[in-house]
């Protein structure tokens, strides 16, 4: 999930609020110029911008391997994938802008550390197999979350998600294909794949956010049609989909409590270490500081470029005005 622990505004009780809720309940899409409660607007801005920031920061862990991809084809696929992430960031920033916030404001919030992005991108990519595990697990988890978001009550977000989902499912398949190739390869390659699964499994489960009983913001978001499923529902779905894939690859999911439950028709599984999750969210994950430093460096180093283009545009405008 690319948006976690999104703080949700409270619903009001005016006539307008009631009509708005009825519209949502009837499944009518809300568009940028429609009236909406402030809480709804603010929740969406937080969620969409957090999602966009995740795409932007998400370029970094995979970008770390573009220059070291082990074949020309893998290099091209990985580069195309990271390019897609940047494109998703662009759609999402545009969707958030329809709610009355500028891209510069959102960028400022990311760079100052005020805005959050998904906890998953604060983990390091240490071997080539991580490009497989990230595509397979991280994009797999993201799809679980994003497919229902295609039906989100806010039109611009919903439409952005439809485009994003098409590309994400390709990403997940390419990640799985990297893993498949490793698992069919040498002993060293198989060990590399298993090691990547060991490191990415629990952080991937944490992407869905804390357990429903500890998730304070879910209920109102669900009433507003911003969120469609609970964290635990999505996490269960992800485990049920992913465990058979791991078995097919010949890999072992690093959870001693993982067991098929005949009664529920689902897998039982262990509890992620939520203290680790909250530490990462607070800024104490393995890469939080590196990720923010990289984004700040890109922004600061690029100031001359942005100022230069603005100066040129000003000169052009002055020239037009003078003519």
């Amino acid at each position: 999930m690319y948006a976690q622990l999104v703080e949700t505004g409270a619903a009001e009780t005016s006539e307008k609020d009631r009509e708005f809720q009825e519209k949502i309940d009837r499944g009518v899409r809300i568009e940028a110029n429609d009236w909406m409660p402030e809480g709804y607007r603010k929740t969406l801005i937080r969620q969409i911008s957090q999602h966009a920031h995740s795409e932007i920061v998400g370029q970094l862990p995979e970008g770390n391997w573009i220059t070291r991809a082990p074949s020309l084809q893998r290099k091209a696929i990985l580069l195309a994938k990271v390019q897609d992430e940047a494109g998703h960031g662009l759609y999402l920033y545009c969707a958030a802008e329809t709610l009355g916030i500028s891209r510069d404001e959102m960028t400022e919030q990311l760079l100052s550390g005020k805005a959050k992005y998904s906890s998953i991108f604060n983990y390091p990519t240490l071997t080539w197999a991580d490009m497989g595990a990230v595509g397979w697990l991280v994009d797999g988890a993201a799809i679980m979350n994003q497919v229902p978001l295609q039906r989100c009550s806010y039109g611009p977000y919903s439409r952005a998600m439809i485009r994003v989902c098409k590309e994400e499912s390709f990403h997940q398949r390419q990640g799985f294909d990297v893993m498949r190739q490793l698992c069919e390869g040498t002993e060293e390659q198989k060990a590399m794949a298993q090691d990547a699964l060991n490191r990415w499994w629990w952080p991937s489960l944490m992407m869905f956010g804390p357990s429903d009983k500890d998730s304070v913001h879910s209920e109102q978001s669900m009433r507003w049609g911003i969120k469609q499923n609970t964290n635990d529902e999505l996490r269960q779905k992800f485990v049920d989909q992913t465990v058979p894939q791991a078995e097919w690859l010949g890999l072992t999911v690093p959870d001693p409590e993982l067991k098929w439950n005949e009664e529920t028709g689902c897998y039982d599984f262990g509890e992620p270490d939520w203290s680790e999750f909250f530490e990462v969210i607070k800024g104490n994950g393995p890469c939080n500081k590196d990720r923010l430093a990289a984004r700040n460096k890109a922004w600061d180093d690029g100031a001359w470029y942005r100022d230069g283009l603005t100066a040129h545009a000003d000169k052009q405008n002055q020239q037009i005005a003078a003519e």
Binding site: L60, T67, P70, L79, W128, Q181, A298, R306, A313
Partner: protein, 249 residues
Amino acid sequence: MDPIVTFCLRMGDTTLILGQQTAAWCGHAPVLEEDIAFANMGLDLIGQTQLWYEIAAEAEGKGRTPDDLAFFRTERQFLNAQLVERPNTDFAHALMRQYLFDAWHLPMQEALCDSSHEAIRDLAQKSVKEVRYHIDRSRDLIVRLGDGSDESRAKMQGALDALWPYAGDLMATDEVEETLAGQGVLPGLDRVRRAFDAETAATLSRATLTIPENGHARTGGRTGIHTETMGYILAEMQSVPRTFPDARW
């Protein structure tokens, strides 16, 4: 070596090393649109590399694959122009390197569209569309940033001063090109240099930048003589396949 093999390696190595350097900007560029644009150019360049290496590998006939050529040759065996291995010092260097490359690459690909060699002609006819887009983009940015703020002009002039001496290596020719020109494989080679000079003179003047007077002094890449940055580029790019030489990816 068969002149076709040498020529295709010169071309493919040049697109690969530039693609490698371009791709490294993904996630680190000054604006999101540049992250996307640099990734896009990197993809085109890597795609072109695969095509050049396929022709080289087939002409060579030793059963090597494009990946063997990319990941299992040494620095002295790489025949790219020195310009493309110059470092990603800052975004101004990256843009100027791309522009000088494009100013050569477009007339080169246009010339190759009339090649007597079928595979090269097909490659050029496919690539020339991508290359036309690349130069439209990089020319536009050179003009806007050269004729931008005082700081952006200084940055772009600094990059031009640093990179101009290496541009000549793109156009360096020897008996390989002369042989292929004689066979019609490389038609109109004399026009490439003139097109490069005309393009750069016009654009750099619009950008209010001054072409350095020291000329194109640096050459050697075409015969495997590189600058000190090259070894590091290969060390990084080749590290995984060389660590696991028996693996397939």
